[in-house]
Symmetry: C2
Subunit: 425 residues, 2 copies
C-alpha cells in the first residue's frame, strides 16, 4: 500500500470572488492541518479570473493567476478543478471541459447543479471522474455527504428545513425584535446577509434550487428547480409574526421534499407556521438547518452556517479530498413525478386587511364555508379604518383554500396585502 502521506493534489481554481478568496485563505492557512488530517498534500497551483487588474483581498503571488482557462484545463498536473464563479455560463462549459479531460470537479454552484446536474453527472461517470457539490446546499452542513454516504442504507421519506440564511435572518429579526420586513431586510443587507437585489433569496428561488438538489439525492430523481412550487416571504408583515406567536408558532421559510402517497414526490418552498416546540423553530439568524427522516435512522437534524466564504471553503476542501479518494458516482436516476400542491391538505393561517364595518366577518366566513374550509380560530382586532382579520383553519385541500382565498380577495371590503400561510403539523 502506498504511503498516502505522499499524495500530492494540484488544484486549479476558477473565480476569486468571496468563495474563491475563502478557498485561498483556507488552503493557505491550513495546508499542514489538511495534510496531517487527510494524508493529502493539497496545493493550489493556478487561479483563473475574469479581470487580472482587479485588486484582491489575498496575496496571490504564490499562484499562477491567469485569465486563460486553458492554463487550468490543459495542465495535466492539475487533477482537481474548483469552480467558484457561480452562474450557468461559462461555469458549465469549464466544468464540462474539465470532466472531459479527466479532471475531478468541485463546485458550490447550486444553479448549475440543480438545473444541469444529471447531464454533468453522466459526463463525469463516462470519464471516470467525480463531480462534488457539498457546498451547493447549506454551505458547511454536511447534508449531501450524509444523504449519499451515511444514510446510504436508508429509504428516505422526507427532507425539509431552513435552507436560506437571508430569509431566516429577516424572519428572526421580525420575530425576536419586532422589526418590520423592510427594516429587517435593510439590516440583513447592511450585515452582508442579503444582496442589494434580494429577490432571489426572499422570493424563495435560492431555496428552490437547494431543495431540488436534495430531492435529486434523496429520491434519485432530477427535479427542475423552476417546476418547484415556490413562495417567498415578501408579503409577510409584523402582524403575521405576532398572531402566529400568540397561537404558539413561529414563521419560517420551509423547503420540503417528501415521498407523496402513490408514486410522486412533493417538493415545495413556502413560509410555514412552525410550532414553537419543533426543533426548526429554534434555528435563528442566518443559520440553516435540515431535518431528514430515513427508515432506519428515523429523524436526523443538522444545523450550522449555510453560507459565507469560510464555511463554503471548508465544504469544498472536504470535497477535494473526497474526489481524490473515491469515485462515488451519481447515476441510476428515477423520474418520479412532482405532485400538484393543489391536491395536498393543510391547515392555514390567513390574514385579510378589511374595511372595519359590520358584516365583514360574516361575508368572509360565508365564502370559506362555501368552499368547505372550516375555521378553527379567529381574531379581529379593533383598529382604524383598515383592520386585519386573522383566521386559523382546520385542514382543507389547497385547491379549496386557494379558491376561497381568491374569492375573498375579490370582495370589495377586502384590501390588498392578504396572506395565506400553511401550518406545519
Amino acid at each position: 500500500m502506498v504511503n498516502v502521506l505522499e499524495k500530492q493534489v494540484s488544484v486549479g481554481l476558477f473565480g476569486l470572488g468571496n468563495v474563491g478568496t475563502g478557498i485561498v485563505k483556507a488552503l493557505d492557512g491550513h495546508h499542514d492541518l489538511i495534510r496531517k488530517r487527510s494524508g493529502f498534500n493539497v496545493r493550489l497551483k493556478t487561479i483563473c479570473v475574469k479581470n487580472l487588474k482587479k485588486a484582491r483581498e489575498v496575496n496571490t503571488a504564490k499562484y499562477r493567476v491567469t485569465a486563460n482557462s486553458g492554463h487550468i484545463l490543459d495542465d495535466p498536473e492539475i487533477s482537481v478543478v474548483i469552480e467558484a464563479m457561480g452562474g450557468i455560463e461559462p461555469a458549465r462549459a469549464f466544468i464540462m471541459e474539465a470532466l472531459e479531460k479527466g479532471k475531478h470537479v468541485v463546485t458550490a454552484n447550486k444553479a448549475l447543479i440543480s438545473k444541469h446536474g444529471q447531464e454533468l453527472f453522466e459526463l463525469a461517470a463516462r470519464n471516470g471522474v467525480n463531480l462534488a457539490f457539498e457546498a451547493s446546499v447549506c454551505g458547511s452542513i454536511p447534508i449531501i455527504k450524509s444523504i449519499r454516504e451515511s444514510f446510504v442504507a436508508n429509504s428516505i421519506s422526507s427532507i425539509y428545513g431552513i435552507v436560506n440564511g437571508t430569509t431566516n435572518f429577516i424572519l428572526t429579526r421580525m420575530v425576536n425584535d419586532g422589526k418590520s420586513y423592510e427594516s429587517a431586510l435593510e439590516e440583513a443587507q447592511q450585515r452582508g446577509f442579503a444582496e442589494a437585489d434580494p429577490s432571489f433569496d426572499v422570493g424563495g428561488k435560492d431555496a428552490a434550487q437547494k431543495i431540488a438538489i436534495l430531492s435529486m439525492l434523496a429520491f434519485n430523481t432530477p427535479v427542475d428547480p423552476d417546476t418547484v412550487y415556490t413562495e417567498g416571504i415578501q408579503d409577510l408583515v409584523s402582524e403575521d409574526i405576532k398572531f402566529a406567536q400568540a397561537w404558539g408558532y413561529v414563521i419560517k421559510l420551509i423547503a420540503l421534499a417528501r415521498k407523496a402517497d402513490g408514486e410522486g414526490i412533493d417538493v415545495r418552498v413556502h413560509p410555514m407556521l412552525v410550532p414553537k416546540a419543533h426543533p426548526l423553530a429554534n434555528i435563528n439568524g442566518e443559520l440553516n438547518s435540515v431535518y431528514l427522516i430515513g427508515d432506519l435512522v428515523d429523524g436526523q437534524m443538522f444545523s450550522g452556517k449555510g453560507a459565507g466564504p469560510l464555511p463554503t471553503a471548508s465544504a469544498m476542501i472536504s470535497d477535494v479530498i473526497d474526489v481524490m479518494k473515491s469515485a462515488a458516482l451519481i447515476r441510476n436516476f428515477n423520474s418520479l413525478p412532482l405532485v400538484d400542491i393543489n391536491n395536498l391538505e393543510f391547515s392555514y393561517y390567513v390574514r385579510f386587511p378589511v374595511i372595519d364595518q359590520p358584516g365583514v366577518l360574516c361575508r368572509i366566513a360565508k365564502v370559506l364555508a362555501t368552499d368547505g374550509v372550516s375555521i378553527a380560530e379567529l381574531v379581529q382586532p379593533t383598529g382604524n379604518e383598515t383592520v386585519p382579520i386573522i383566521i386559523r383553519t382546520h385542514k382543507a385541500k389547497e385547491r379549496a383554500m386557494r379558491h376561497a382565498f381568491d374569492e375573498i380577495n375579490r370582495l370589495p371590503i377586502v384590501k390588498k396585502g392578504a396572506v395565506m400561510i400553511r401550518i406545519q403539523e
Copy 2:
C-alpha cells in the same frame, strides 16, 4: 473505469444480539436499495455466534451460521468483518486477526475503540485495511465521518453534547413530567432505554468512552476513557430540576472535549445546567446531539437517535461501503495532556439538605466566603425538619468550590445528598 455496479462485497458478522439482528434485517430488507444507492452488492455470507442453539428473531437460513470464528476469519472471499459482539474480548482478538488477514473491519464497540483504538488503527494501517467505527458514538448520527471528512480542513476547538440516550431520557422525564429519578429510571428500563443494571449509563461511563473517541478524532490524541473526569446523574433529585428550571436552565448530562488554554485538552462528563435557549436544551427523550466548533465552519450541530438496532445498523452498513471505497487511515497521533478539572472555572448550582434551624445559612455562607466563592442567588424554601438550601454561585475555581463543598458537607447541620452542578455559559 470499472463498472462499480458489479462490485460484490462478502461480509462476515460476529454477534447476533440486538445490533447483529438489526444488521441482518437491514441488509436483507434493503439489499437492492443499498446496491442502487452505493453501487455495491453487499452480501452477508457468514454469521458467527456463541450459542448455535439460541432462538433468533431473524431467519438465518440464507447464511452460514457457525460458532467457529475461523469460518469468517479464514474465508478469503469475506473482505469485510462486522463486529457486533461488544465487550473487549474476544472482540479484540477477532478484530486483530481480521485486520492481520487483510480484512476491513466495521465495529460499534466503543469500549474497545476508546481503550485500544490506537493499537488497532496502527495494525489496520500496517495491513493496508480500514477499521471503521461510526456506530460507536451516537448511533446513526454521522459525527465521526463529519469530523474526519467534512470538517477535515478545520481546526476544531471544542466538541460537546448529549451522547447518552438513557440519561437524557431520564432527565427529560424528570423535567417535563416532574418524575423522580427512580421512577424515570424505571420507565427507561421498561421501555428498553436502560439496562437492568443501569450504572454504566447513569454513572457517565458510556458517555466517557464516547467523548474519548471524539477527542481522539478532533484533537488527534488518544484519550483513555478511564482518565476522563466523570460524574453521573444518580444524585439528582426533582428539586434540582425544579430550581434549575426556575432559574432558566434545564439539567443535561454533558460530555465535552475542548482545547484548553496552553497545550492540553479538557475532557469531561458531568451534569450541567444548560440555558433554556441553548440548542442542546431542546434535545429531549432518548435523542443524542453533538455540537462542534471548527474555525472555518463555526458551530455545527447534529442530532438524532443515538442507539437502537436499526440506527446502529444504518451506520455500520454505511461504514461497510466506506471501507470498500477508500483506505482512510487514522494515524499521526499527538499526545496532548488532559487538563485537571480542579484548575477550571465554573459557576455552580449547589444544593444542601440541611436541618431547618436558625444560623444554618450563615454557616454555609461563611465557608463559601472563606474559599472565595461568592453567591449569585440563593433560595431557602421552608419545610419540615430537613429543607434544602439552593445556591447559584458566581464563577469560581473548581478546586476552591470543591473544598467549600466538602467543608460544608462536614458541618453537622448538613445532611447527606448534597449536589454540586456546573453551569453552562
